[in-house]
Symmetry: D2
Subunit: 331 residues, 4 copies
C-alpha cells in the first residue's frame, strides 16, 4: 500500500483524490495546500490529513510518493525536493514554462529518479488503445499522425498572461500526443491565427494554430488547435500507416440520436471539457503510476518527455513568428 | 441483344427505361400504354416505338422479353399472354391483389415459364450484399431478421381503396425481404394500428403494423411498418445469426454532417422515397433479368415468390383481425 | 444523511456499494448477508457494519432505507418487513416470480408505502434522456417503440430453472422499458424460438422471443430478445412518433475505429454485460431513490410497476404457448 | 440545345459522355481524338461523330461548346483555339504544368471569355452542399479548413515524371478545394515526406505532404495528402467556424455494417478511386457548365481559379524545399 502526499488541492487534485478510491494499492495520507479550506475539503472525503506545508508533506517519512498538482511555477522546486527526499513523483504538466529551468532540472536529477509527468491523455482508454495497437504493428510503418484538439470556449486573456500562451498551455498536450507515437521529432513548422479574441494579439499569442512536425523516421504529424468549438470539446486522433488507420473519435455524453423533419442521426454536443472528457484518463494515469511503482519498469511519460514537449512548444512559437521551419535540436 | 417491349409508361416505366442505357445486352423497342403521350415521352428518349396496343407489343415477333409496369389489375392477364406467346417476363409486384387469381396463374403457367417478379429491393446493392454474405455462411445459422420500413408520408385514402391495403401494397415488399432470407415462412402473427389517418379505419386498413413470422428453420422475423416517417424513407434490415449480425442502414443524400451549439454529427433527412432510394436497385434488377435470360439459371424472385408474398399479406391481415397466429399453409 | 441497510452482498450489491461513494446525502451503515464473508468484503470497503441478520438490519432504528439485493424469492417478505418497519425500500427486480404473490403484496402494502423497484435501465442516461425528451413532447404523439435486447452469451439451463424463464428474467427489463414510454399496455402477442440451446426445450423455455404489445393509446411496441449475441451486449431503443424518432444506440468501450485493407470504420465489440453497460444506471438509480426520499414525490418505478412488468411476462408466455393475442387485463 | 465537341476520348471523356444522357439542354455531336478507335467507341454510344481533328472539331460551326479532356500539355493551345473561335470551354484541370504558360494564357484571353476549369470536386454534392451552407452563413465567420485526401494506391514513377509531381497532380485538387472556401490565400507552408516509394526521391517528389495555408481573412487551412491508403480513396473535408462545423465524410459502396465476435459496426472499404467517388460530381459539373451557358452568370471555377491553384502548387513546392513560409504573391 503506497502512501501518497498530494501537493495542491484544486480542481485536478479533487479528480485525483477520487481516483484513489478505485486503487487498492495506494492511499492518500496528506493533502497540502496553502489554502487550508481546499485541502480540508479533499481531506474530509478521503481520510487524508490536511496540511499547509508542502515540503513537510513531501518529507514526511510515511510518504512514499508525491502527487504534484500545484501551480506550474512550483513544479521544478517540488519535483526536486521530492526527488531529493527519495520520493517517487507524479507531477502535472508542464514541467515549467521556462525551457531552460526545465532542462536544468532534467539534467540535475539522477537518471534513476522516479518521476512521471501527468500527460493524462496518454492514459485515455481510446488513445492508449490506439497506441498499443500501433506498437503491436497493426498499421505497419507509421506514416502520418493527425491531432485535432479544440477547446469548447476561449480562456480569458488573464489566463493566457500566465499560462505561457497557446503552445505551452494547450498544444503541449498535443505535442505529447504526437510524441506518444513519434517520440523523435526533428523539425517543426507552425502557423498561428487571431480570429476569436483580439486581446490576444497584444499578448503576442494566437487563438488557433496549425503545426506540422517531422519525425526522424520520416513520418509527419499535424496538430490543429482552436480556442473555441461551439459544439463541445473536440478531441480527435488519427494515426495512419502503411497497413491502415486507427482513429479515436470524440465522445458523447449519451448514445442518443434524434431524427426529425429537418435532420437525422443527430447527437448531443460533446462532453464539455477536460475534467469530464478525461476523467477516466486521470484514474488510469494514477493507476499506471502506482503499477510502475510496485511492478518496476520505467516511468512514462518521463521528466524528459515533459521537457521534450516543452521544447516543441518553444520551437513552434519560433516557427510561427519567423515563418521558418525550426530544427528541434537547435532550440 | 435481347429486344424488350415495355407495357405501361408511368413512373416506374420511366425508371426502367433509363436502366436500359447501361445494359449493353438489351434494347427497348416498344413502349405500349393506352395513354399515348406517356408512351411517346419514353419512346422519344430511348429510340423505342410507342404503341397503345399491349397485346400487339407482347406478340410482336421481334420482342423477346416483356417488362410489365402496367396497373396491378392487368398483371395476371399480361403475364399469361406473354407466357403463352413464349416471351420472358419481368413483372412489377404484386402478381394480383387476389390470392386466388394469383395462385391460379401460378398453377396454370408451365413450370419452365420464364417469369421474374419485380421485387426490386432484392437487388438493392446493400440488401443484396447482406444476402450474399449470409448465403456464404458469414453469420452461421440464421436466427432473427428485422425489417424496419416506413414511408416518408402517408398515401391518400383513395390510393388505399385500390391498393389492397397496407399488407398488400407496402408490407408485401417486406414479406419478400424476409423470404429473401427465410423463404419457408410457416406462421404469421400481426398487429395493426390506426394512429395517423382516421379515414383508414372505415376502410378497415391500418397505418402501422408489426408482424412476427416464423420460418420452418426455427428462425423468426419481425416487420415494423409505418405510413409516415417525417425524417424520410426509413428502410433498414438487420440479419442476426449465431456468428454475428449484418445490417443495411438508411442511405443519405450526401455525406455531410453538421455541428453547432446545440447538436453534433447531424445529417440531412433520408432520401425521400423509393424512386430515389431504390434507383440503383431497379437498374440491377433489370440487369439480373437480362443476365438470367442470356446466361440461364432460374428466374428469381419467381412467380411463386410473388404468390408467396401475397399469401403472407393475406395471412397477416387474418391475424391482425383475429388476434390469432395464422399458419401460412392454411391460407 | 439517509442511513441505509443493504440486504444481500452479491455482485449487484457491490455495484450499489460503490455508488454510495458519490452520493453525499446517503450512507451505507449495514450490509446483511447470510454469507458472512461477502458482507464483510463490502463492509470493509465502505465503513458499513457487516451482519448476517437481514430482519435485524431492516429493523435497526438507525436505518431509514433498505436496499434489497437478495435472491428473488426473498423480495416479497423483505419488502413487507421493511414497509412494516416504516422504512423506505429500493428492491431489485423482479418483485417475485409468482404474479399472485406479487399482486398480493401490492394490494396489502399501504398506498403511501415508500417502495421503488430497481428497474435500473430507466436510469441509464441515454434511455432516461430519450424518455425526458418524449415527455417534453419532442416526438409529438408516440406511435411505435422498438426494444432490441440481446445478451452476449446464454445463461446455463440451471440458471433458467430458477429464473422463471426468459420472459421473467430477461424480457421483464424490456417490458418495463416499453412501459416507461407506454405504461398502459392492453394486449400482448409473443412468439418464441429455440435456436441456441436445445436443453431449454425440455424446460419449456425459449432462447429468443419477439413480442408485440399494444398500448391503450393506440401505440404499439416490439421487443426482440436473444440469449446470445457474439458481438457483445446488444441494448437498443427506438422511440418513434408523429414528429420524429429518438434512438439510444449501443455503447462502445472506447471511441477507436479501425481501417484496413478489408474493412473501414470498424469498432470493438460492445461492452460485455449489464454490470459494465449499466454501471452508471445503477448509480443514477440510487441517486434518484435518495433524491425522492429527501425531496418528496412518488417513487418510480413503483411496486405497481414491478407487478405490471411481471404481468406482461405472464401474458407473453401465455401468448407464446397459445398462439393467441392476450388481453393484459385477463391475466 | 447546346452542341458540344469533346476533345479527347479517354477515361474521363467516357465519363463525361455518359453525363450527356441526363442533360436535356446539351448534345454531344463530335468526339475528336487522334486515337480513332477511342473516339469511335464513345461516338457509338452517344450518336456523336468521331473525328481525329481536334481543331476542326473546335471550329466546326455547329459546335457551340468544347469539352477538353485531352492531355495536359494540349490544354493551353486548345483553350486558346476555342476562345479564338468564340466557343465556350470546359477544360479538365490543370491549365498547364507551367505556371508561366498558364498565366500568359490567363492574361491573353478576353475578360469575358467563357472558360470553366474542371475542378470536379466543387460539384460533388457533399462538398457543394458544405460550400452552399457556408455561403449562407451557417458557420458564421470561417476559421479553419481541413482537407484530407489520400489516394488508394500510389501512381507509378513513370506517371509522376510527367504529371508535374504530387503538388501539381494531386494536391492541386485540394488547393482548389481550399480556395472554394478561402479564395484569397496569401501564405503557404509545406512539408513533404518519402515513406512509400523511394523511386520518388530521385524524381525530387514526395509521396505524402502536409500543407498549411493562410487566407487574407485570417482563416487557415491544412491539406493532408498521401499517395496510398489501403482502406480506399480517403476524401474528407472539414470546415470550421465561429458557429459550428460542417464535414463531408467518406462515401461507402453500400450501407452494410457487420458485427462479429471480434468487431462491430464494420463497413466495407471506401469507393476505390475518383471515377467511382466523383461520378456524380462529373455529371453535376457538366450540368453547371450548361446551366451557366444558358442562364448567364460567370463561369466558376474560372480560368483564373485554375491558375491560382497552380500557383499554390508552385508555392508549396518552394516551401517544402526551402523550409520557409512562402508568400503567394511572390510566386
Amino acid at each position: 500500500m503506497t502512501k501518497f502526499a498530494m501537493i495542491g488541492a484544486g480542481r485536478i487534485a479533487a479528480t485525483h483524490a477520487r481516483s484513489f478510491q478505485d486503487i487498492d494499492e495506494a492511499e492518500l495520507i496528506i493533502v497540502a495546500d496553502p489554502f487550508a479550506e481546499a485541502a480540508q475539503r479533499i481531506a474530509a472525503k478521503t481520510g487524508a490529513k490536511a496540511s499547509s506545508d508542502a515540503l513537510g508533506a513531501i518529507r514526511n517519512p510515511d510518504v512514499e510518493a508525491v502527487l504534484i498538482c500545484s501551480p506550474t511555477a512550483t513544479h521544478v522546486d517540488l519535483i526536486r525536493a521530492a526527488v531529493d527526499a527519495g520520493k517517487a513523483v507524479l507531477c502535472e504538466k508542464p514541467v515549467d514554462l521556462d525551457l531552460g529551468l526545465a532542462s536544468q532540472l532534467e539534467a540535475s536529477v539522477p537518471k534513476d529518479a522516479r518521476v512521471m509527468m501527468g500527460f493524462n491523455r496518454r492514459f485515455d482508454p481510446s488513445f492508449a488503445q490506439v497506441n498499443a495497437r500501433v506498437q503491436k504493428g497493426e498499421l505497419g510503418k507509421l506514416e502520418q499522425v493527425v491531432v485535432i484538439s479544440r477547446d469548447p470556449a476561449p480562456q480569458s486573456p488573464e489566463y493566457v498572461k500566465t499560462s505561457g500562451g497557446i503552445f505551452k498551455d494547450m498544444t503541449i498536450h498535443d505535442f505529447d500526443m504526437v510524441r506518444f507515437f513519434l517520440p523523435d521529432i526533428v523539425e517543426v513548422e507552425a502557423m498561428g491565427q487571431n480570429v476569436i479574441d483580439p486581446a490576444l494579439i497584444e499578448l503576442e499569442d494566437f487563438d488557433g494554430v496549425m503545426v506540422t512536425l517531422r519525425s526522424a523516421s520520416g513520418a509527419m504529424a499535424t496538430i490543429i488547435n482552436s480556442r473555441r468549438a461551439v459544439f463541445g470539446y473536440d478531441q480527435r486522433l488519427e494515426v495512419f500507416g502503411e497497413r491502415g488507420m486507427l482513429q479515436a473519435h470524440n465522445q458523447l455524453p449519451t448514445s442518443v440520436r434524434s431524427y426529425g423533419a429537418d435532420h437525422a442521426e443527430q447527437t448531443e454536443t460533446y462532453l464539455h471539457f477536460f475534467l469530464q472528457r478525461y476523467r477516466e484518463a486521470y484514474a488510469c494515469e494514477l493507476k499506471a503510476f502506482v503499477d510502475t511503482l510496485n511492478g518496476g519498469g520505467s516511468f512514462s511519460p518521463s521528466l524528459s518527455d515533459g521537457v521534450a514537449a516543452l521544447r516543441l512548444a518553444v520551437a513552434a512559437m519560433q516557427s510561427a513568428r519567423s515563418g521558418r521551419r525550426v530544427e528541434v535540436a537547435s532550440v
